[in-house]
């Protein structure tokens, strides 16, 4: 049986959409890491955020790895693109 909580089951503790929206506005990965840290999110809540963003993860992924994936999917990919397209290289 799938024991991952559904969005409506943990809505009382976290608004996954607003967390994702906030991350999408940030311009450094460090900013994102601090933000997630400040939210004191449980693994199940991180899973809901990842699922909402359509970011794949595995059950064996550690919490830190899950956070990295969320940050990469919201902030990291933009920074990567900017770095490659920057005129300084």
């Amino acid at each position: 049986m799938n024991n991952i909580p559904c969005l409506h089951e943990i809505r009382s503790t976290i608004d996954a959409e607003s967390v994702a929206d906030a991350l999408c506005q940030m311009n450094t990965c460090e900013e994102g890491e601090l933000f997630l840290l400040s939210k004191h999110l449980k693994r199940a809540e991180l899973e809901v955020i990842a699922r909402g963003l359509d970011i794949p993860f595995q059950k064996r992924d550690r919490t830190d790895r899950l956070k990295d994936k969320i940050i990469e999917g919201t902030i990291g990919f933009r920074l990567r693109s900017q770095a490659i397209r920057s005129n300084s290289i």
Binding site: P56, I84, S86
Partner: protein, 300 residues
């Protein structure tokens, strides 16, 4: 006549398969299509011509390499064009599918072209830049504006002078990409190089009296070799598709599916999958949907 360069910095993204099937399907729909193979690997060429026939009839004097060599003054661009035999019977009506073949030695041409850059002064250097990067423009101009509806240029996965010739000659750049980390990074490299070429070329063009600037547009990224599960791309690939869309690059809605069974040996028979495999309506249908989208964006 519309000119499209098909390119990604990253190799192995299904670029040639895309070009061959797009060209084949459009010819089948009645368009006059010329393919130009600029990749020294000559994969597009060998998708339509057997290597032995290429060696005997094309390699000595009838490939795109001949256009880029210093004695090109003695040949006409039109003389390099040929009509692949095997695919001919699949095209009826007004459609045409022609090819200018590549040459394995095309890889050395870039060094010769690079030697022609520079100059005694800035004005001369700018003129040489334009001359060196406009070889393909000159050739295509020789064909006349109504000779083809579409020219598809299959570029190598680099941004050397030969590739820049294709970009400079083109109205659009079509970017095939696998939905993975390295292939989508190739899209960013390409956009950067594209912007730089346009800036450099147009800056040099303003120094010449008769030289027009270039304005190639990114037609879009088309995701290739896509693996599906339950009718959608597998979860590991979806973030790369979504991220590319968020980077404000045009992205085609249709995908080209991974299918080794169909695509692996199609070049051996000289006919693109889309024209032969009516038994796999799902795969052929997806290619046709992509061609519909392309046709709508470029030709209609």
């Amino acid at each position: 006549m519309k000119i499209i360069s098909v390119i990604n910095y990253k190799g192995g993204v299904g670029k040639t398969t895309l070009t061959a099937n797009l060209a084949g399907e459009l010819a089948c729909r009645g368009y006059k299509v010329l393919m130009i193979d600029l990749d020294p690997q000559a994969s597009l060429t060998f998708s339509f011509v057997k290597p032995n026939d290429w060696r005997k009839t094309l390699a000595p004097s009838k490939t795109i390499k001949n256009w880029f060599t210093p004695d090109k003054g003695t040949i006409k661009f039109n003389d390099l064009i040929f009509e692949p035999e095997a695919v001919k019977e699949h095209i009826s009506g007004d459609g045409l599918l022609h090819l200018i073949a590549s040459h394995l030695d095309l890889i050395n041409v870039d060094l010769e072209l690079a030697a022609q850059l520079g100059g005694a002064n800035l004005r001369q250097a700018k003129q040489n830049f334009i001359t060196t990067h406009s070889r393909l423009i000159e050739g295509i101009e020789q064909l006349g504006k109504n000779s083809y509806d579409l020219i598809l240029i299959d570029c190598p996965p680099n941004f050397n002078i030969v590739t820049k010739n294709a970009i400079a000659a083109g109205d659009y750049v079509l970017i095939p990409a696998k939905p993975d980390y390295l292939s989508t990074m190739g899209v960013d490299y390409l956009r950067k190089s594209l912007d730089r070429l346009v800036t450099d070329y147009n800056e040099c063009a303003t120094a010449g009296e008769d030289t027009e600037g270039i304005h190639p547009k990114v037609l879009g990224v088309v995701f290739t070799m896509v693996q599906f599960y339950r009718g959608v791309p597998i979860s590991a690939t979806r973030p790369f598709i979504a991220q590319t869309k968020k980077l404000q690059i045009p992205v085609f809605e249709s995908y080209i599916r991974e299918n080794k069974t169909l695509f692996a040996d199609a070049p051996l028979y000289g006919v693109p999958v889309v024209l032969t495999n009516s038994s796999r309506a799902d795969i052929v249908g997806e290619i046709e949907t992509f061609v519909d989208e392309f046709e709508h964006k470029v030709l209609l």
